[in-house]
Structures are given as structure tokens and as C-alpha cells.
């Protein structure tokens, strides 16, 4: 039950985090929209989203996995029984990295589309 409810809670937290970051990405898009329109380089938005969303989330996933590493040693020392296989840790980390990449790509694409509709004085 705790696992189930914890899953719901984490999903809500993740949604909140993405909405919060999405709002700030939208602000960044507003700032860079004139420049990207003038230069015709909409890929800026993708780069900014990858740098501001994907990179922090990916770094957080890797460091969090590293933070969990001592647990395997602790469990093995105290129970003398092999615990979860290391590929579980890798799978969880890869899942978080995939989520980070997806968030960055989605935000970058959305920003580029928004910038394409920019016109002077509107924002």
C-alpha cells in the first residue's frame, strides 16, 4: 500500500517539478524568441531546454544512484545474502535519464513552436 501511494505521490511531485520548470522554460523562450526569429535558428530553444532541463535532471539521476550505492554494501554485510542485482540500479538510472531527455526534447520543441508565432509587441 505504501509503495502504491508513494508512487502516486512521486508522480504528483514529478508533475509539479516539470510544470515549475516548464514555466521557466517558457520565460526563457519569451526572452530568446525575437533572437531566434531574427536569426532563423530555432534549435537554440532545444539547446537551452537540454541545458536547463535535461542536464540538471540527468546529473541528479546519476548522483542519486551514486548516493544509493552504499546501501548494497550495508545490506550484504548485515544479511549475508546477495541483495538486488546491480542492473536494477542501472535500469532505474536509465529510466530517469530517459525521462530527463524526453522532458528536454518536449520543452525545446514547444518553445521553438511558440517562438515561431512571435510578433513584435505581443509579448
Amino acid at each position: 500500500m505504501g509503495v502504491l501511494l508513494g508512487g502516486y505521490g512521486l508522480a504528483l511531485l514529478a508533475t509539479a517539478g516539470l510544470i515549475s520548470a516548464g514555466g521557466h522554460i517558457a520565460e526563457a523562450a519569451r526572452s530568446t524568441a525575437p533572437l531566434s526569429v531574427l536569426t532563423g535558428r530555432s534549435r537554440w530553444h532545444l539547446g537551452i531546454a537540454l541545458g536547463f532541463l535535461t542536464a540538471p535532471m540527468a546529473l541528479a539521476a546519476i548522483l542519486s544512484a551514486a548516493l544509493s550505492l552504499p546501501l548494497g554494501t550495508v545490506i550484504q554485510q548485515n544479511r549475508q545474502v546477495p541483495a538486488a542485482p546491480p542492473d536494477t540500479l542501472a535500469a532505474i538510472t536509465l529510466g530517469a535519464l530517459a525521462l530527463a531527455l524526453a522532458a528536454g526534447l518536449a520543452a525545446g520543441t514547444a518553445s521553438a513552436r511558440t517562438a515561431a508565432t512571435w510578433r513584435p509587441g505581443r509579448w
Partner: protein, 620 residues
């Protein structure tokens, strides 16, 4: 335009609220607010469903409780309860012996079961082959009004006339109803504190994150609205005016979100719904009975959303400034220092000598502390990386690096909120998986032993195992089964004697002594060593003698069958229960114990959820 035709101030404020304030489009904001409102509504409805479900359970539990009386003369029936297993799960078997057949039977039954008749809950009846005949003649199912939930496993059995039970095993009762507190059925596993625990866990795990989503959504892309609120404030607007403008901007989203969230309750109102992952069935009748809980939840969600979305701007605008609150550029150094300290503590847990009671507490404290400060420390690290990236972007002429780097450098609060769910999610998942997958040495040994034995040795206990009853049990079992008597030591003193005929002892690779003879360690095949290791003490003796006792009764029996063609646990339970009666217990010699990690899981997850909220920075 005449003065009369000018819109009122309220109308103007409502119109003003609907206009765009810059930044993201109004549609995007409406979508975000709709999602947050729908989540809040659904979460509060979930709380109402939990309350309604527990209320229904408590009501049915109270109505089926035995009213135990001190004097048998006042009793209308005898009532006794015994736990049993079917598959992996424990269930209750309630034995009934009516004195006054005209007295009302327990809820869920139309009439009292006759001697040897059995009524099973649907969940227990469908458990597997043999369960329907285990306790006697199957007469039907228990109605839903007699069950706490559709998944409850319960049996009502008419006490057989020749059943052997100890004195005082059954209670004289005067009927069924409150205020009894006898735990049986699902109450065995769900204690009275379960409701409080469930609601507390739900509040921490689900309602608080939904509240967080609500606040973040309210402040989504808020710079433009903050500027407008500041302007209104400078023009003399009061809280009411700010509230009207704010409410107007989010009213469609509140209505849409509340409707969307309310739709989540429709399935549970129409039919019984299985909660995914835990297979608990929520009864629609319970939810319908407390429908006003749901109405209150929807109303609270809508009013909270209206007040929250509008009031967050109104309150901020009252701070007397005409500029939006500036974002913080730096992360406090003490947060980074504490993160480093707790990380060291977490890692140091691996250096504590094996078996120390301090290892897990030190690890848990270190991990919780590190989790609490990890987002801030990560944000500081990212700010430093961002500054370096921006610097490099300037030198190499890469505008993307400059913009992304500067945003990282000057928005550490945003980064902390962004990485917090990732940090908490990854660490929680990894820790949960480790603790669920790991086992204690004892539980692993028990599981491996049971796997090797494959039910070729099973222990049997029952009241009054006299020679006649043991012989009846032997006759009921298949021909390949052999019985061994286990006379355990009296209160831990004296030897445990295993008695069986010579042929049985030889099949176990044992000698055939006529007098009790000590068993050397490692003697006999795996069935003997398992019985000795898990069921008997250190002083174990064997004796070649028939399993039925010459006089008195046997403490326990072991049912032995060929390892190449063993009996099954369910087969032996279903066979022996009708013979040995209500007090029969059949189990594997090395019973699996619950791992301590599983037992503590809820506390772990609860701690993590609390930590999630400690490290969740205020929105801004």
C-alpha cells in the same frame, strides 16, 4: 458613453483578470491549472473513498461480532474461531453451534449452518481445489453484508458433532452485534489502527504532493500576473479587488479541473473497483452510502482551488512592492555543508562492522539528511557548472550555452525544485527495491529448505492426538504417506522423541532402536535433518515404535512422503482437517519468516515522503 452604461468595478476587474498578462499563453496556464485542480479533486475524493470504505468495514465488523456472555444458560449459540491457511494467505474459520435455532444467524448467512456444513466467502471458495471440502460439506457462500470486503477470506462452519476441541475453546454467545472487539477475518491483518495509519500515509504520500502541485500550478509563469497585481496595488486595489481579478483568470480551469477530477469517482460509484497493485476491492455500496463525503470533497477542492489560485496573488500583491519578488541567486552554504556531512555519514554506514545494530539507523539518518539537502547542493553545483558553461559560451560564440548557463547560474531555486523529484524518486525506488529483494539469512535458509523438501515432510498439530485419532489420520492419507510422532520436550526440558515404525525410520536412513536413542548430527536424510533443525531442540532421540501412542496423546505429527512423489501441503490440509477437526494445523517444517525489511517498509517509505517535503523548496 453615459455614466450608467459604464461597466461596474467588479465587471472591469473580472474582465481584467481574463486578459493575458504576457509570458505563456492563457490556454497553457488554463491547462496547467486544470491538471492541478483535477489532481487535487481526485486526491480529496480518494480520501473520501478511504473514509467511506473504512466506515462500511467498521459497520459490518460491528454487526457480526459475537456477543459473548458469561453464563452458558443465557447463550443462544456457541462460537469459536481458528486461523488457517489457503495458499499463501491466512484466513479465519468460525465454528458455530446454535443452541436456539430460531436465533438470528451471523450477517451474511440466511440460516445457521448444520453440523459439518460450510459457508465460505467467495474469495476463499475460489482459492483452489479442495478448500470447499476441507471443513465439511460446502453449503454456499457468505453474503456481502457479512464480509468486510469482497476479498475477505472467511468460513462459517457448523460445529461437527464429534469434533474434538479443548474445554473453553468455544464461547457462549447471545447473538451478533456491537460492541465486540474479537479480531477475525480481515481484522487479523488489518488492526484497528489501520484506518488512522492509512489516512496518515495517504495524507503524507498523496495529499501533500497534490498540494505541492497545486501551489506550483498557482505560481506557474506568474511574472506577468505579479506585475499586474503590483500595478493594481499601486492604484489602490485591495485584497478583494486582487481576488476578483485572480479568480476571473482561473475560473474556467477550476470548473474544468473539478469536473475532470470528479469523473474519477464515477467508476467507484457504479461498481466494485479493484485497487491496482494490491488487489483490494473497494465496495461501491460503501461509497454510495457515504455519497455526501464525495460531495464535500468536491466542494472543498473547488473552493480551495478558487481561494488558493486567487489568494496567492492577492497576498503577494499586498507586500507593498511594485516589483515582482527577485529570484535568489545563491544557495546557502550551510545546506551544501550539511549535504556533504550526511553523504559522508551514509557512506560510513558501510564501514560499520557487520551485525552492528547501528548500521541501519546510521544509514537511514544519513540518507534522509542527504536527501533533504541534495536538491540544494545539486542546484549549487549546477549553478557553478552553468557559470562555467556561460563563460565558455561567450568565448566560443555559442549563444545556447550562454543562455542555458546563465539560467542555471541565476535560478538555483528553480533547479532545486526541478531535481528534487528526480533525487527522491531514484533514491526511493532503489532503496525500496533493495529492501524488497533482500532477505535475511534465516528466511533464505527456510525458503531453500522448503524448496528442497517439496512438502515431503510436513508438521501436523491438533488437539488430543490420541491413538485412535492418529490412526484415523493415517487411514485418511494416501498410501504413500507415513506418520511420525513428535513428542516434544516438556516446557523445554527433556529430549524430543521422534517415533515411527522401523520401515519408516529405515526409509529416512535411520537406525531402528527399540529405546529412545540420540540422533547424531547429520544423520538421516533431509526430512529428518529438517525436522531436527527446525522443529526440535538440540536433544533429539529416535525410537522404533508405532506413531499412535500407547496411551495419552501425541504432541505433534510429521507427515512423510517419498521425495520423488511427495504429497502437497494443500492436499494434506484438505485431507486431515475433516478428520482431526477445528484445531488442526498443517505447515511446512521451515516456515518462511517475513523479512524485517518488508515489515519496516512502510516506515521507510513514510520517512522518505516526509523528507520529500522537508527538501521541497518554497515556490517562487
Amino acid at each position: 458613453m453615459s455614466r450608467d452604461s459604464a461597466p461596474s468595478l467588479t465587471g472591469q476587474l473580472l474582465t481584467l483578470g481574463r486578459t493575458r498578462t504576457g509570458g505563456v499563453s492563457q490556454r497553457t496556464r488554463q491547462i496547467v491549472l486544470t491538471i492541478a485542480t483535477a489532481a487535487l479533486t481526485a486526491v480529496l475524493l480518494g480520501l473520501a473513498v478511504i473514509a467511506a470504505t473504512f466506515d462500511g468495514r467498521d459497520l459490518r465488523d460491528a454487526m457480526r461480532q459475537p456477543i459473548i456472555v458469561a453464563s452458558p444458560e443465557r447463550a443462544t449459540a456457541w462460537w469459536g474461531e481458528s486461523p488457517d491457511h489457503a495458499g499463501r494467505w491466512q484466513h479465519s474459520v468460525v465454528y458455530l453451534d446454535p443452541i436456539d435455532p430460531a436465533a438470528p444467524p451471523p450477517p451474511g448467512l440466511d440460516s445457521w449452518p448444520g453440523p459439518g456444513q460450510v459457508y465460505l466467502s467467495p474469495a476463499l471458495a475460489d482459492t483452489g481445489p479442495g478448500v470447499r471440502d476441507r471443513y465439511g460439506e460446502y453449503a454456499g457462500t457468505i453474503g456481502p453484508q457479512g464480509l468486510l470486503s469482497p476479498t475477505e477470506r472467511l468460513a462459517y462452519v457448523g460445529m461437527p458433532e464429534d469434533a474434538a476441541v479443548p474445554d473453553g475453546w468455544m464461547y457462549p454467545i447471545a447473538g451478533f452485534g456491537p460492541p465486540g472487539i474479537f479480531p477475525f477475518g480481515e481484522k487479523i491483518t488489518l488492526t484497528p489502527a489501520a484506518q488512522d495509519l492509512m489516512i496518515a500515509v495517504y495524507l503524507v504520500f498523496v495529499v501533500l504532493p497534490a498540494g505541492g502541485l497545486f501551489v506550483v500550478a498557482a505560481r506557474f509563469a506568474a511574472a506577468g500576473r505579479d506585475r499586474r497585481a503590483a500595478l493594481l496595488n499601486a492604484l489602490g486595489a485591495r485584497t478583494r479587488h486582487q481576488f476578483l481579478a485572480g479568480l476571473s483568470s482561473c475560473l474556467p480551469a477550476i470548473l474544468a479541473g473539478t469536473a475532470l477530477g470528479s469523473a474519477m469517482a464515477v467508476p467507484v460509484l457504479l461498481a466494485d473497483v479493484t485497487v491496482p497493485g494490491i488487489d483490494y476491492i473497494v465496495r461501491a455500496a460503501d461509497v454510495r452510502r457515504m455519497w455526501w463525503f464525495l460531495a464535500v470533497a468536491v466542494a472543498v477542492a473547488a473552493v480551495s482551488a478558487a481561494l488558493g489560485y486567487a489568494a496567492l496573488h492577492a497576498r503577494r500583491a499586498q507586500r507593498g512592492t511594485t516589483r515582482p519578488r527577485p529570484a535568489t541567486d545563491r544557495v546557502a552554504t550551510w545546506k551544501i555543508a550539511l549535504f556533504a556531512l550526511f553523504t559522508v555519514v551514509t557512506s560510513a554506514a558501510a564501514l560499520i562492522p557487520p551485525g552492528s545494530p547501528w548500521t541501519i539507523p546510521v544509514y537511514a539518518a544519513g540518507l534522509l539528511g542527504a536527501l533533504a539537502f541534495a536538491p540544494s547542493a545539486l542546484a549549487a553545483l549546477l549553478a557553478w557548472v552553468g557559470a562555467a558553461a556561460a563563460h565558455r559560451g561567450l568565448r566560443t560564440g555559442r549563444p545556447t550555452w550562454i543562455v542555458a548557463g546563465r539560467w542555471c547560474q541565476h535560478r538555483p531555486g528553480v533547479l532545486a525544485r526541478l531535481v528534487a523529484p528526480v533525487v527522491i524518486g531514484v533514491v526511493t525506488l532503489v532503496n525500496m527495491h533493495y529492501f524488497l529483494a533482500s532477505e535475511t539469512l534465516t528466511s533464505v535458509q527456510a525458503r531453500q529448505t522448503d524448496e528442497r523438501l517439496a512438502d515431503s515432510a510436513l508438521s501436523v498439530s491438533a488437539h488430543d492426538l490420541t491413538a485412535q485419532r492418529v490412526m484415523e489420520a493415517a487411514r485418511a492419507l494416501p498410501e504413500r504417506a507415513r506418520l511420525m510422532a513428535v513428542d516434544t520436550a516438556d516446557e523445554g526440558e527433556g529430549p524430543t522423541v521422534l517415533r515411527a515404525p522401523c520401515s519408516t525410520l529405515r526409509s529416512l536412513q535411520l537406525d531402528c532402536p527399540q529405546q529412545p536413542t540420540p540422533v547424531e548430527p547429520g544423520t538421516g536424510d533431509i526430512r529428518v535433518t529438517t525436522l531436527v533443525d527446525w522443529q526440535a531442540g538440540s536433544d533429539v532421540r529416535i525410537q522404533a515404535s508405532p506413531a499412535p501412542p500407547a496411551e495419552g496423546s501425541v504432541e505433534q505429527l510429521a507427515v512423510l512422503s517419498p521425495r520423488e512423489d511427495p504429497l502437497t501441503l494443500a492436499e494434506v490440509r484438505n485431507t486431515l482437517h475433516p478428520v482431526l477437526g477445528p484445531t488442526t494445523g498443517v505447515d511446512r517444517p521451515a516456515s518462511l519468516e517475513m523479512t524485517p525489511a518488508n515489515a519496516r517498509l512502510s516506515q521507510w517509505v513514510c520517512s522518505w515522503a516526509v523528507t520529500a517535503w522537508l527538501c521541497w523548496p518554497p515556490p517562487g
